[in-house]
Symmetry: D2
Subunit: 306 residues, 4 copies
Amino acid sequence: MTPDYQTILDEIRDEVQPLLAQGQVADYIPRLACVPWQKFGMAVVTLDGQLYRTGDADEAFSIQSISKVYTLTLALQSIGDKLWRRVGREPSGNAFNSLVQLELEHGLPRNPFINAGALVVADVVLGAMPDPRAQLLATVRRWADNPGVQDDPEVARSEQANGFRNAALANFIRSFGNLEQAIDEVLGFYFYQCSLAMSCEDLARGFLFLANRGYCRWTGDRILSPDQAKRINALMLTCGTYDAAGDFAYHVGIPAKSGVGGGIVAVIPERLAVAVWSPALNAKGNSLAGSAALERFTTKTGLSIF
Amino acid sequence: MTPDYQTILDEIRDEVQPLLAQGQVADYIPRLACVPWQKFGMAVVTLDGQLYRTGDADEAFSIQSISKVYTLTLALQSIGDKLWRRVGREPSGNAFNSLVQLELEHGLPRNPFINAGALVVADVVLGAMPDPRAQLLATVRRWADNPGVQDDPEVARSEQANGFRNAALANFIRSFGNLEQAIDEVLGFYFYQCSLAMSCEDLARGFLFLANRGYCRWTGDRILSPDQAKRINALMLTCGTYDAAGDFAYHVGIPAKSGVGGGIVAVIPERLAVAVWSPALNAKGNSLAGSAALERFTTKTGLSIF
Amino acid sequence: MTPDYQTILDEIRDEVQPLLAQGQVADYIPRLACVPWQKFGMAVVTLDGQLYRTGDADEAFSIQSISKVYTLTLALQSIGDKLWRRVGREPSGNAFNSLVQLELEHGLPRNPFINAGALVVADVVLGAMPDPRAQLLATVRRWADNPGVQDDPEVARSEQANGFRNAALANFIRSFGNLEQAIDEVLGFYFYQCSLAMSCEDLARGFLFLANRGYCRWTGDRILSPDQAKRINALMLTCGTYDAAGDFAYHVGIPAKSGVGGGIVAVIPERLAVAVWSPALNAKGNSLAGSAALERFTTKTGLSIF
Amino acid sequence: MTPDYQTILDEIRDEVQPLLAQGQVADYIPRLACVPWQKFGMAVVTLDGQLYRTGDADEAFSIQSISKVYTLTLALQSIGDKLWRRVGREPSGNAFNSLVQLELEHGLPRNPFINAGALVVADVVLGAMPDPRAQLLATVRRWADNPGVQDDPEVARSEQANGFRNAALANFIRSFGNLEQAIDEVLGFYFYQCSLAMSCEDLARGFLFLANRGYCRWTGDRILSPDQAKRINALMLTCGTYDAAGDFAYHVGIPAKSGVGGGIVAVIPERLAVAVWSPALNAKGNSLAGSAALERFTTKTGLSIF
């Protein structure tokens, strides 16, 4: 029996209201800091293309690290499993460890969703495309079935101006020989991908291919093989929500990728993609109300992969 | 359509033969070192209780860390979610990190499947039961539907005699106040649980409750709530195969727990439990041929949670 | 020109009064916790055997880690430079690192003055002596020219009862094969050595041999070769005051060893030994007023090795 | 009695010949890689200005990290003890730790002689001088009493082109707010200071002020206060020879600073400065034959600070 998604989404929107003011909106760049914490949106797209939505589901926000799934997809399209010679597939533990492990593991980032790994993935994408920014944007628009998706140059500029830690990572990885393109190019592209602005509707549509064995419902393209799609889902489950991946798997139980802009997008294989947005973050850097909303969603629908 | 499990198991048994001699049989205690690397067994038990088996599936081996799922289950039965005040639910990164993180995180082990976490779980079980060894053995026999399951005192003795690192962990955790029972008791119980000897058949039967929303098919008992069962599955996926959990999720894609004796048991929720045994281990400490067998199993059956 | 040591000591005693209440008396065992923070003593013994003293210089206190210099001396007497195959000579950085480095460096402690290193030294002493406790006590009495030096069994008992971290270290080192005696023996001896009670006078007399090229003024014995004495002084300078050795060298500028009982003993080669006691410790675990007193002592006397 | 320095230097030159071919010439930049390993020079300058020399003592080589003592001196002249708010004075343990500790200690480098600390010192110097490169060069020439000292632009260029790890450190420190000048400026100045070329004679003359209570014999200037000079000596002893400072203090027993170009300069307070050069390095990055030469020098002269 199909759950009544619309009723469920509306219930969740009401239930999470008290949570919106908890948590902390990211404030390391002005553009993120000024997003009102009252925002909440959620959207579901099922395999048959049906859309359900509630709240601010059509308002675009900064997708930030959610973009790492897109660049990983592009990198796999370009060089396939050779990617795994340059980046691992293991959870990284806390932020402290990512740097320590980079040292212990000689510049091989633990997975493509920590910043170090995303920089290597960006390096791969840069090496494979003549005009990577334009191609990334065009691709994301197609997959999300929305030609109106934009990047936000102001966000990219601010990230760049404050991106000392990412610059440290890039130089560190380069010192081990695991970056091939110019460091400034890699960082520039990375800050660009993080600056893409999408709505919950865009993201739910744009991640549906991962629930759909790699096929894009909107274009009919085979984006990835069924196996590759499954494996990205596995990676999102084990590494998609920073150092809270274990907890997230425990409480929510479905593959997901979060961003510091307050978005989380999740996938229930063979069923649906679901995106949620609430700007205030918990201590681990994931949307506080968004995490709660997804936990309620799996409880109310009875859907889970476990 | 139900896959033809028997044919699939027999195919896998033939296909993995060349892998058996690869890897390295654990040799830190004599009893494990003398197990012939040629051994290979595999067993599937489906939700309706049907058993399929191949090779040495009825030969008992040392389950070692697989026992951590049983003690975790007992601890959750005893104190429920209060357990999570004393142990986390996050992957731990490499072995090196487990100690570093224990220090950084003030004696709170990252998850119940690293040794540090299993010692805390053992401490909980000890505090909850008058005769924990006898009760653990009786419980495991019931859940596996086999009153013949035994412990191996020689293994426990050897582990104890070589268990300096576990003794270091226990003392270290105690120094943070996160052990309540006498250290020697905790270690003794821990070495006892690791010394249980079970066959693939035993393990497939004995883990079926995790595929069956917490109900034990053999006794009719509700071992755990559906939610708790789901969550143990999530923990096995993110933390069940040491520092290869990410890779294992990527390649095999189902919750699993491995042991240094060469056993791995995995769960496909709402479908089946599957156990495999091959003594030689890969560099991460998981059965080399066993991992390959499970990857083939999910490929051939098309079953996966992603 | 010889400085007027008596006047200088009395000045220092007056000047440090306001510092005595600062810092924190060690409270992890009751016997140390109940020592009055008002205590202050200081004693100087010059190469010609002249004694100068002020305040509570004749009151015995728990020497704790200061004993590590004595056991190091005994170990060098027993096995000479072979000791350095089992323990290093490098500063260890902060406490956090001692454990990390023990892991990275495969059970070889960084130096004999961190607890890990002192446990290895204790293991060497145990292996070299039929009755190590009695021999240590007799030796310390001879070197300090005071047959009344005692151990404090109550301190040793308390340390043992709270010594989980040291037990963790001992087991950890043993797991790398770098302890030869029974772990309980090693720990017992280590807690014994820490429980020795000596006064500032005892310590100043008892360390004079390090200022005197290895010769004991009181017995006429050659305790160490001139070279060995120099090298222990070098070790005290680089590693003698926990993670404050750099700061201590910077501010005080002479070799010293501190203990958590509030004692510090220092050596000015070819000149004198000086001991100070004030129970309240600074954040790095060294006597707060004691450190200040020694800095004043080098300033007022103009003595320094730099 | 004054040792016969000339005879001692000549003896040492002969004795270390078999060691010259051991060790490894630094090869991360071409200019260093092509220096002949056969080179060996040594020079002593005593407090009265007398010079003794042997071998290639008048041949200029790349001073590399030895320059860190000069920039530290300039920084102390500029801002005095305020420097210590931005950099520590503790040994750092191994190279691995420098990065870990930078993270744990929030961007405060452990001491001014690890690269992280030298970058902060460079930042201070840059902020204090209108034309820092010219002023550094002029200063070094004055202190070394040799207007012919030059920098080597080719070395600086190569360092810059390979300086990813230093760039990582600079960005990392900047992410904690502990750099004030533009990162490229800081790195450029740092690579410049490392590229200074000096002979053993230059260095022995140029470090004499540290043996001479801060006074420059050649110019009559008071470069540092006696206290500041003593404290730089203490820092060199505890932190001057990378992760071998403990060993170096143990074997050689005098304050020293080494560079990857094969130079080591050491100070015996109130006596002399001594410089040695041999390009091949030991595993810790210090000149192999140079370390041996200094150990022999202290043994033969009987000079030591301990």
